[in-house]
């Protein structure tokens, strides 16, 4: 119940940020959209599914993720129809499926997903800082470059967040616990 309330809170917060999202792509793509995904993760926190559903759910989440990564989707998300689609699909088709499939994903697959997330953020950061054209018609070139740098900072922060437990042991496992980290991967 508490998680559902938190999820709804994150959702309300994200919807309240609609003006900020229209003003800056950083607030749109790196604050509002992640909040919507977080809302979905929290809403699905206490749900469990059978293992058979893990891969289809992960693929659903990846599809939603790739869709909202497209620059034209970001432009579309500022129209009324696109905004409704964003507010519904990011929690329900990305946050919830990701949460449901995550416990069933092995450490190799998790590592693969994380490594890909980092490299993708790096590529996006390079693209948005160096593109000779405007990628989103709804945002200024300077804002596009800010978004590019924000992608790079995020990649660096996530790399630290994910690498430190691998290198120095996860706090929950004790350092270099013999059980490995499959139980407690974040």
């Amino acid at each position: 119940m508490r998680m559902i309330c938190l999820g709804l809170l994150a959702m309300a917060e994200a919807v309240a940020l609609r003006e900020a999202a229209a003003a800056s792509p950083v607030q749109h793509v790196l604050v509002q959209m992640p909040l919507l995904v977080l809302a979905g993760v929290l809403l699905g926190w206490n749900l469990r599914v059978r293992r058979d559903w893990a891969v289809p759910l992960l693929l659903t989440a990846l599809t939603a993720f790739l869709f909202w990564m497209l620059p034209r989707s970001v432009d579309w998300a500022l129209t009324p129809a696109g905004e409704a689609a964003k507010n519904l699909s990011l929690p329900l088709l990305l946050g919830v499926p990701l949460r449901l499939s995550w416990p069933w994903l092995g450490p190799v697959l998790r590592g693969f997903l994380k490594a890909n997330a980092l490299s993708m953020l790096g590529v996006l950061g390079f693209l948005y800082t160096h593109a000779p054209v405007r990628i989103c018609n709804s945002y200024l070139v300077s804002a596009q470059q800010e978004l590019g740098f924000a992608f790079l900072y995020l990649a660096a922060a996530l790399a630290c967040l994910w690498a430190i437990p691998v290198l120095f042991g996860h706090p929950k496992c004790g350092s270099f616990g013999t059980a490995g980290c499959s139980r407690c991967g974040v």
């Binding site: 759910l57 659903t60 432009d75 405007r134 990628i135 989103c136 200024l140």
Partner: protein
């Protein structure tokens, strides 16, 4: 085994199909690319709109008697891209004039409040738009939103009191349909398009 893999295969196929659809077959990842592809596939009828040119004369946006109209959206005090694109527009005009092509070039202001005929004349002078083959014109304020929507031009205020916009050369064919979009510096491609051969 097959039954266990089936939901995953379906999810992968559906996901791939959706992404294929929404990028127009992996061709358009940005809204600018999407609009360019869309107008070629389904040209849009341009309404009868009159614009006011540099000397206060009313000029039609629609092509007259089989000519082709090239449209650029601008604002006259634009500091960067409009200046460069105006130079390219002038080159297109010069080469078309040498060919004797029946083409009219219009730089249409999306800031009709500030871009008075006098202001447009200054811009015209600066870029040698003499009002014969190429003129600078502004729509009435009430026609502007419809035009921007039809041409899918997004104008947003920038930090310096100006605007940023998806600048391009818009082609209105002789039948009055908006049927192609080119980069402002794609001089050769525009000329090839008008020559009849689609580049």
């Amino acid at each position: 085994m097959l039954a266990r893999a089936l939901p995953s295969v379906l999810a992968a196929v559906a996901g791939g199909g959706i992404l294929w659809q929404v990028t127009d077959g992996a061709q358009a990842f940005t809204s600018e690319a999407a609009r360019r592809l869309d107008v070629v596939q389904s040209p849009r009828q341009v309404p009868e709109v009159l614009l006011e040119d540099m000397v206060g004369r009313q000029v039609p946006l629609l092509p007259q008697a089989g000519e082709v109209v090239l449209v650029e959206f601008i604002y006259t005090v634009c500091g960067d891209i409009c200046q460069i694109s105006a130079a390219d527009f002038a080159e297109i005009r010069d080469r078309l004039r040498a060919q004797g092509a029946r083409v009219r070039l219009l730089s249409v202001s999306f800031d009709p409040e500030r871009d008075t005929p006098e202001q447009m004349a200054i811009y015209g002078d600066a870029h040698e738009a003499d009002g014969v083959m190429w003129t600078v014109a502004r729509p009435r304020q009430k026609d502007l939103p419809g035009l921007l929507k039809l041409f899918d031009v997004t104008v947003i205020p920038d930090e310096w009191g100006g605007f940023q916009h998806n600048a391009a050369i818009h082609v209105i064919s002789g039948d009055g349909s908006f049927s192609a979009v080119y980069d402002t510096d794609a001089v050769e491609a525009v000329l090839a398009h008008l020559d009849g051969g689609q580049p």
